[in-house]
């Protein structure tokens, strides 16, 4: 008895280790393994034997729908949860990352980690924008955009509860620095007027942000004159003229940040050195890529850890379910397997047939889970409180890579769940198998 327990514990540990190892393997190795298996099935004598034994086993599947669905649904659950949570992290990270590039840089007050906690006076913004590394537009003006971030509260369209939305005050230079901001409908705001353009995610997430309507922010009425799409975190913001925002929110002349377009991404270090060397400036600078990556890091990592932990626990449970099913399957087929062995089939085909059956069931489960995750979350959006203390809306990104990762997990679970029962079937003495009822 104790020996049994000990062997069970060691095999469980081995199984978990194997699961981890498999999870780390790249996806192509899996395709390769499948190709090798198919080749073995069709080309070698033992392989063909194994395939016919596997077919016999799978022919009995319709007689045990309950047991087969335990494997399929169990694994679908693991893969579904894994893919959904990882696509959540992926969506968050790519939404924030796409806001950043290597050839734009963001200047913040020294020590500030985020725009909302930063404050630059206009002189600082002007001096930093005049540096030679900053690209100039056709009229010879530096492509430097001083921006003011403030936060307002608006009701969400989902439940009507107020949530924070970021308002970004910008100057004309912003259009050149952020070329990815495209007007979808309406027009740009007119400088000096209380006019707003709204990001498409913000328009969807918050109530009353429709084109042409009026909204009260900071105690003043604003007209929404346009809707824009940038494909990144700016989509969750409202944009307006910087001076109007400053006066409504009584911010004085300071801005939060300065974003500049560099003439070349390689000039960033020179730009950084120039700012550091100027005694008039007390600022920090980073490329927008670094800036936005840092912001998605913590939450993205938390979701990934949560997703992977939950998926591992569920995967171990699914392994138990698969073990259960396959032990039962073998118990039902004991006599059949023993007969095959008595007829001279070697153990390899028996082992492979049991493994093949489990892995095929697992693949079916993995495909089901991945499909469910894709169908349910493919167009799902979520939002979180970003570093500017305002909502960042992002989509779940169910990417092919994530779907492949899900299938990989499915195969790993099937392999582990099938291996022990397969070995049991292969080692079963022929005589006792024949006697079994």
């Amino acid at each position: 008895m104790y020996q049994k327990i000990a062997s069970f514990v060691t095999s469980s540990i081995a199984a978990i280790g194997a699961l981890a190892a498999l999870a780390l393997l790249p996806s192509w190795s899996l395709v390769l393994a499948c190709a090798v298996l198919v080749g073995w099935f069709s080309l070698t004598r033992v392989g063909r034997q194994a395939w016919s034994v596997a077919q016999m086993g799978m022919a009995t599947l319709p007689q045990r729908p309950g047991a087969a669905s335990v494997v399929v649904v169990g694994i679908a659950g693991v893969v579904g949860v894994l893919v959904a949570l990882l696509s959540l992290a992926q969506g968050l990270e790519s939404t924030l990352r796409q806001a950043g590039t290597d050839d734009t840089a963001i200047v913040l007050r020294a020590g500030s980690q985020t725009e909302i906690s930063s404050s630059l006076d206009r002189d600082t913004a002007t001096i930093a924008g005049e540096e030679p590394e900053v690209l100039r537009d056709a009229r010879g003006q530096p492509m430097a955009s001083p921006e003011l971030i403030t936060v307002a509260s608006l009701p969400k369209s989902s439940d009507g509860r107020p949530a924070n939305v970021a308002i970004r005050g910008v100057e004309q230079a912003a259009w050149g620095v952020h070329p990815d901001v495209r007007i979808l409908a309406g027009r740009r705001f007119t400088p000096g007027l209380r006019e707003l353009i709204v990001g498409k995610a913000a328009a969807r997430e918050f109530k009353g942000l429709t084109l042409g309507s009026s909204v009260v922010l900071g105690g003043q009425p604003w007209t929404i004159v346009g809707e824009f799409d940038s494909g990144n975190a700016h989509d969750s913001e409202l944009w307006a003229d910087v001076d109007v925002v400053a006066s409504v929110y009584r911010h004085g002349s300071n801005v939060s940040s300065l974003t500049v377009r560099l003439s070349n991404a390689a000039h960033f270090q020179a730009f950084k050195a120039a700012l550091a060397g100027d005694p008039r400036l007390k600022v920090d600078v980073s490329t927008t890529r670094t800036y936005y990556e840092k912001q998605s890091e913590a939450l993205g990592r938390m979701i990934r850890i949560l997703g992977t932990t939950v998926a591992i626990i569920m995967a171990v449970g699914a392994v138990f379910g698969a073990l259960n099913t396959m032990y039962t399957a073998i118990a039902i087929r004991t006599r059949e397997i023993a007969t095959l062995r008595a007829m001279g089939f070697r153990s390899a085909p028996v082992v492979v047939s049991v493994l093949t059956e489990t892995i095929l069931l697992a693949l079916a489960g993995g495909a089901l889970g991945a499909a469910l995750a894709w169908a349910l979350f493919g167009h799902y959006t979520a939002s979180t409180l970003g570093s500017n203390f305002s909502q960042v809306v992002f989509e779940f990104r169910v990417t092919p890579a994530l779907l492949a990762a899900g299938l990989k997990w499915a195969v790993a679970i099937g392999l582990i769940g099938g291996l022990l029962p397969a070995l049991l079937a292969a080692r079963m003495p022929v005589t006792s198998g024949l006697k079994a009822l």
């Binding site: 309950g66 007050r109 020590g111 404050s119 107020p162 007390k282 449970g317 138990f320 259960n324």
Partner: protein, 387 residues
């Protein structure tokens, strides 16, 4: 109860299967316990007993827009407000930017509003007396190995001092403790004097970020909140006053709405679990048909058979579920001990246990019902002759 050994014998019939099923159930309830602890940590944020006595007042325009300090005396005078204090937010870091600190510059009398922050009277007096004094939570002091009397240099994010220095140095004069385990995350506060802050800061201009009020009667909270907001109605600094717990819960829900995510995961887990255990129970009953027929032959009534099978499934679920919840308590306890309040986790309390055990009973009955009915309806003559 006298049937118990029969149920037990049935479970031991296929030890491997019972063990695997138990382990699956255990893992499902481990997830349930841990995820529910995360979820309730989010749900209960700000819901402490003292909080229902408190209101917070922010600028109506935005949380980031400051309010004049001149409101203070008028708020204090609002009937029903027993104490009030004002607070400025202060962001910075200790030693390296990785050690971010969220501090608060607080007006005199702030701690009178927070009775759950327990601190010796001598330390309270020291804080009142020392201009550069700071009071921190026990958790924060532990993390950075601070002790009373330490000088703590903090790099400010925004608030440089008038002398141009970005470094603020505080004297640690008090360390407070919070008894309630679920308020552990409150033990990371960093509080110093607003007067010192406003005078030394280059940006100091006599404004505050928010006010906190303590009301004598929580049932009057809504009326008092309206009265406070009326003070600044139609001015250029209109305010919005909310109960502190509602404010905190709302803030947290903006970070991440845990409910649907946790719900979806647990839904997937339990759907799978129900399928797995009901499959086990169906198998178990199917292979025991002859035995159940014998019991019926001996005169066991249909109800007896029903309760035997249901008993088995409920016992299976309950023991696996209890093991999972014990494991969840251990895991949560371990993680909390290791990481403290950095991650939102509440201890696995009686509410989670109650819910979990309720779930085991429910699922046990659910998965046992069909096989049990099958066993109950068994025709002895057919079952014995192997039909």
């Amino acid at each position: 109860m006298k049937y118990l050994h029969l149920v037990w014998a049935a479970m031991l019939r296929r030890k491997a299967r019972t063990l695997l099923t138990l382990l699956s159930i255990m893992l499902a309830f481990l997830l349930f316990g841990v995820l529910d602890s995360v979820r309730s940590a989010f749900m209960e944020a700000g819901h402490n007993v003292a909080a229902v006595h408190r209101l917070v007042t922010f600028s109506k325009a935005s949380l980031t827009v400051p309010l004049p300090k001149s409101l203070y005396s008028r708020i204090e005078a609002v009937p029903g407000v027993s104490e009030a204090a004002y607070v400025n937010w202060f962001g910075g870091y200790y030693q390296t930017p990785k050690h971010a600190l969220g501090g608060e510059a607080v007006g005199a009398g702030f701690f009178a509003l927070f009775p759950e922050y327990e601190m010796p009277a001598t330390e309270r007096r020291a804080f009142a007396a020392i201009r550069t004094g700071v009071v921190v939570g026990e958790g924060l002091a532990r993390r950075y190995h601070w002790k009373l009397g330490d000088k703590i240099p903090v790099q400010a994010d925004i608030f440089a001092q008038k002398n141009g220095s970005n470094t603020w140095t505080f004297d640690l004069v008090g360390i407070y403790h919070v008894s309630a385990a679920r308020l552990e995350s409150e033990e990371y506060g960093f509080y110093f004097h607003w007067d010192y802050f406003d005078q030394a800061s280059a940006l100091g201009n006599g404004t505050v970020n928010w006010y906190v009020e303590r009301v004598a009667d929580p049932r009057q909270a809504d009326r008092i909140a309206r009265a406070i907001d009326a003070l600044s109605a139609n001015s250029d600094h209109e305010t919005q006053t909310q109960r502190e717990d509602a404010f905190a819960a709302h803030l947290i829900s903006q970070y991440v709405d845990m409910g649907p995510i946790v719900g979806a995961i647990l839904g997937a887990v339990f759907f799978t679990l129900i399928l797995l255990t009901s499959n086990t129970m169906t198998q178990a009953v199917r292979e025991r048909v002859p035995e159940l027929a014998i019991l019926k032959t001996l005169g066991f009534p249909g109800r007896g058979i029903l309760s035997l099978v249901l008993g088995e499934s409920v016992l299976l679920l309950a023991s696996g579920g209890a093991a999972g919840l014990v494991l969840a308590s251990l895991v949560v306890g371990l993680v909390r001990a290791r990481l403290g309040a950095q991650i939102p986790l509440l201890p696995v309390g009686w509410a989670i246990w109650l819910q979990g055990l309720g779930l085991t009973a429910l699922i046990g009955v659910l998965v046992g019902a069909l096989p049990a009915r099958h066993g109950m309806r068994l025709r002895i003559v057919d079952a014995l002759s192997g039909h």
